[in-house]
Symmetry: none
Subunit: 247 residues, 2 copies
Amino acid sequence: MLTDERYAVILDRLKDHGIVKTQELMNLLHCSESTIRRDLDSLERSGKLKRIHGGAKRMYHLDEELSNQDKTTKNVQEKSNIGQLAASLVQPKDVIFIDAGTTTLALIEALKVGNITVVTNGIPQASLLAEKNIPTILIGGSMKMTTKAIIGETAVEQLKQYQFSKAFLGINGMDLEFGFTTPDPEEAAIKRLVIQKSASTYIVADETKWGKVNFVKVCNLEDVTIITNKTNDDYTAIKEKTTILEA
Amino acid sequence: MLTDERYAVILDRLKDHGIVKTQELMNLLHCSESTIRRDLDSLERSGKLKRIHGGAKRMYHLDEELSNQDKTTKNVQEKSNIGQLAASLVQPKDVIFIDAGTTTLALIEALKVGNITVVTNGIPQASLLAEKNIPTILIGGSMKMTTKAIIGETAVEQLKQYQFSKAFLGINGMDLEFGFTTPDPEEAAIKRLVIQKSASTYIVADETKWGKVNFVKVCNLEDVTIITNKTNDDYTAIKEKTTILEA
DNA sequence: TCAAAAACAATCATAAACAATCATTTAACT
DNA sequence: AGTTAAATGATTGTTTATGATTGTTTTTGA
């Protein structure tokens, strides 16, 4: 069992359970307490988890961080559906904003129409847009390392220069009571500004985001149109407040 | 069993499992530990995998960036050498600019020191920096689709805000008579501004750039320090005008 | 509050993996 | 065929990872 294999197992387990115990890892990985302890120490140093007495717990951004690797295979079908619906809204001559995050990548994949300009704050988004030969403007500023999103004051200042005909935003949580929320205040600031600068705004989010509440509020449900995949009866109350497009 | 056959087996196995062990490969390929180790070394140099203690693992990042442009392993080796020399110049507390282009990616790969800030105008650069957890500021503006470089007026305006202790630039051509040249006026404008804003500037370029002349002049040979790999007798005249670091 | 138990950090010896080198074999080219 | 270059496997000493041991700190519950 190689060091990196153990790391992978530990992080995977952490992703599911939110917490791991030293003893449990010893049995699972068939190695000594010292080794586990050293592993947790390394992983903590590289910011992947937080050590606690008896084991370790998940850190905030681990949620997003791990998903970058396996999310590509996880909700792929659903995201693809959402992306296609979102892409169908884009028309020639549109100037659209595309948010950072994994969900909006599916939108870019599905983009078909020509003669559009895209503005984005996501590095992977920019990369994909370049490969699809879509004229793109990237927002400058500080890069958030876990999500490869551009944030900060410089980004806000640059965004103020633009107006968009449509904006497509990702989100971490949406809830009837608390509206749209994300863990990062700086990302929330970007999203709020974009909503303000765009003629119409669409939140693209798969069903797992329903009912989740994060640290910072972005806006109310009724301020935007939601593009999601599965809306069951639970959302009748929500549907009265806002517009939902089902993919 | 030919060398390239082993490479294929190793990479194939890596694609499925994400990780390979030296011992396991020895049995699978019926060859000595030394050979496996050499194979892994070569494959790491050409950017196909990442060696770890006991074997190797997949590289998530510049897999697409470098390998699909099919650099020969020789060229990769040279760029790696140049990158390592360039990286050795970086010191803690530096604020450095890293230019877009493939050569500077090797520099980022080789970056070891902590407590630095990087400013870049390259999308692949930003992506790699994020994976290495290096604090990064990305220049915003229009994206040039062929090279994934950020250019244009917005980029220039943002750059004016910054000062750098060191800057590392790529280049398309360098010539005794015509100096440093690139095909794109907008890229040249960025490079010129960076040179002006940086305490010291290094051009990183492999030997193939010597004697080439492109459309737009960036600066004279004597304005910067050149980091390149092979300097033979032809360059005696050049060496009188400028500083050359040989990797 | 105090004592026992568990978890902890630090250290050490051992074993595995490592880089570097060399002689030998294999392939490639004239 | 004969020469040269490249690849291989064995050997060397070095580095790294590991598990056991030590004594200390934290948690627990009586």
